[in-house]
Symmetry: C2
Subunit: 370 residues, 2 copies
């Protein structure tokens, strides 16, 4: 929000049209008021989201307001010129409980600085009152907009107070698809992880999925399935296990997993892989000699330091934060559904080896091939 917007919110008597007669910089908020819609809706219309669930009538109303008020969507340049707000807000539900959130902050902060903005950060532990207070503080400080981020990728209820300003969801999304969101590409990541195993000839690939319902649960499994089917391998539900998404989960699933004789395992995350390593080791199996293992997350203190170092797929937390700022500033576009998906790249280390050669088949004379 610019200082003009703040003045308006504080009860400036002049209406939007009156203010427009001066050299006043028209804001998205004023367009929203004039069209009787939320700022988020204006943002979706302005950024050309054909698939967003906005009626043609509403779109027309927004476009009318834009024309009437003379709104120019490139707020960044305007703000830079007008010397308006230098702040962007970042509301997170948890810095405390995960090493990950820090990377989202880091990416957002670097990108904000690059464009001359300072990040105001509030950690709310998911508490609604704290969220309201944080967002209200940010509005008072005339933020250009707010990133609302969660520590794991999930559906989020968009706090009402966010509608007062321009905002972008990071690592979460609104199920109603009425807000722009930057999220990890779970399907692509799951396919990426699976292809690391397929490439080495593995065909019997188990999946240790999480017991937590989440986009990661559904998306990574879908990616796995797409990748194996693309490689001509049939999907076998008996190879898919659900386990707690931590070391204990990975350790506990070893027995039933091995009963299915996989040659490779795609784990929901690196912590699961770490626990599975222990479970395999206790049964005298070595990684990657006896069984290949791929993780997910590329978690800082774990993945590179397991024995053997873990091949995995990175959750792009830094990039999520940076992209959130870019979307907020109009420097990056979201897709038709209002989402921008960030790729999860493969990080290859030492836990994947070639699949064992298929058991030799005797020919009619009982001779085996050399």
């Amino acid at each position: 929000m610019t200082s003009e917007e703040a003045a308006g919110r504080r009860g400036n008597a002049a209406g939007a049209s009156a203010r427009n007669k001066s050299s006043h910089y028209v804001t998205m908020r004023e367009v929203a008021e004039a069209a009787s819609v939320s700022v988020a809706t204006v943002s979706l219309v302005v950024n050309n989201k054909p698939d967003a669930r906005i009626s043609a009538e509403t779109r027309a109303r927004v476009h009318d307001a834009i024309r009437t008020l003379g709104y120019r969507p490139n707020a960044l340049a305007k703000t830079l010129v007008s010397g308006g707000s230098r702040f962007i807000g970042l509301v997170t539900d948890a810095i405390a409980t995960t090493p990950f959130a820090g990377q989202i902050i880091h990416g957002a902060q670097d990108e904000a600085w690059k464009h001359g903005f300072v990040l105001l950060i509030a950690n709310t532990e998911g508490n609604e009152d704290a969220e309201r207070e944080a967002i209200s503080m940010m509005l008072e400080h005339q933020v250009r907009g707010v990133l609302y981020s969660t520590w794991y990728h999930r559906a989020a209820e968009v706090p009402k107070a966010l509608q007062e300003t321009d905002f972008v969801l990071v690592n979460c999304y609104s199920p109603a698809r009425d807000a722009r969101a930057v999220v990890p590409a779970e399907v692509q990541g799951g396919a990426n992880a699976t292809r690391l195993l397929l490439r080495e000839g593995h065909r019997r690939i188990a999946v240790v999925n999480t017991t937590t319902p989440s986009p990661a649960h559904d998306g990574r499994l879908r990616g796995y399935r797409e990748a194996i089917e693309e490689a001509g391998v049939a999907y076998e539900p008996s190879l898919v296990f659900d386990a707690r998404p931590d070391q204990e989960g990975g350790y506990g699933v070893a027995e039933e997993l091995l009963a299915q004789n996989p040659t490779a395992v795609f784990c929901h995350n690196d912590r699961v892989a770490m626990g599975l390593y222990d479970g395999l080791r206790e049964r005298g199996l070595s990684v990657p000699g006896d069984i290949a293992v791929v993780g997910f997350d590329n978690q800082e203190v774990i993945a590179a330091h397991l024995r053997p170092p873990l091949t995995t797929v990175a959750l792009p937390h830094y990039e999520l934060g940076a992209a959130g700022i870019q979307v907020l500033l109009g420097l990056a576009e979201t897709a038709g559904d209002g989402r921008l998906e960030i790729d999860c790249p493969a990080v290859e280390r030492a836990s994947v080896g070639p699949a064992p050669a298929p058991a030799p088949v005797s020919d009619a004379m009982g001779r085996r091939p050399l």
Copy 2:
């Protein structure tokens, strides 16, 4: 810094004494100017640091300026009343490279909020230009003061720009002892870890120290030594090993460590303990049955999830951040040397068992005690 201070910095023509004639709130910065010393020096004198290396003459000059200007050190109450700065700055050298820094931010943020302040955060990756730019931005935003924090406890060169405002070092300290600092109590932590082992009857306790020169290297070893000597156990340098402070270091030291026949090991951190677990396991030794292991850090994703869960000592990152804010706001006192040490509490899990009974000694008749 308050808005009055900022006005002064921007070249307000009125001198400090002139300004004092109005109801103007006198700032630490004005005292510093009047006494021709740094803000940090005023802060040390005001907070009664008898051991700080400040000459009696300088102290007298500061006290004169305080009397002349009518300075009242409780800036917090003043700021709240005057409606001055609502910001506190936090400059960190790395959010990216460690899961820990987030906890310092979290503690600082919670404590700042509690007192009605908002945290402005800048991550500089230790780059001097970025530091200068960040601090200068914070001064422009009229921060009440700045926390300068590092991701591991170390000596730090205080950036010159910090002298423009009130500041507190967090997780680092100035070797010249000319700045207030909140740091983890390494000696106490090392003693704490060692006592967890002594209490279970261990007497032959190895130490895997770090190869990195640091307060943690020296302090934890000193704590170990104090604890064993207090328990009547002689210090044996052959039981002390240096290793890389990660999993690879702990794994690599297993062989030579076992050659000294310890019944217990105090590891420099949890990552070292994780690697040592692997090294011990490969040699058929079980924890805690054959050997007890204690870590340090209580690192989120590791300590509780090793097999067995690791008994360790927590690095109080959250508390460091919170205490930094308290010191800055005059709500907590540093010790005579300008430092406030935060305790490292024990976190007991399952990697420490009783020491093996001493080998039975035959009596003169060749009989062994029952």
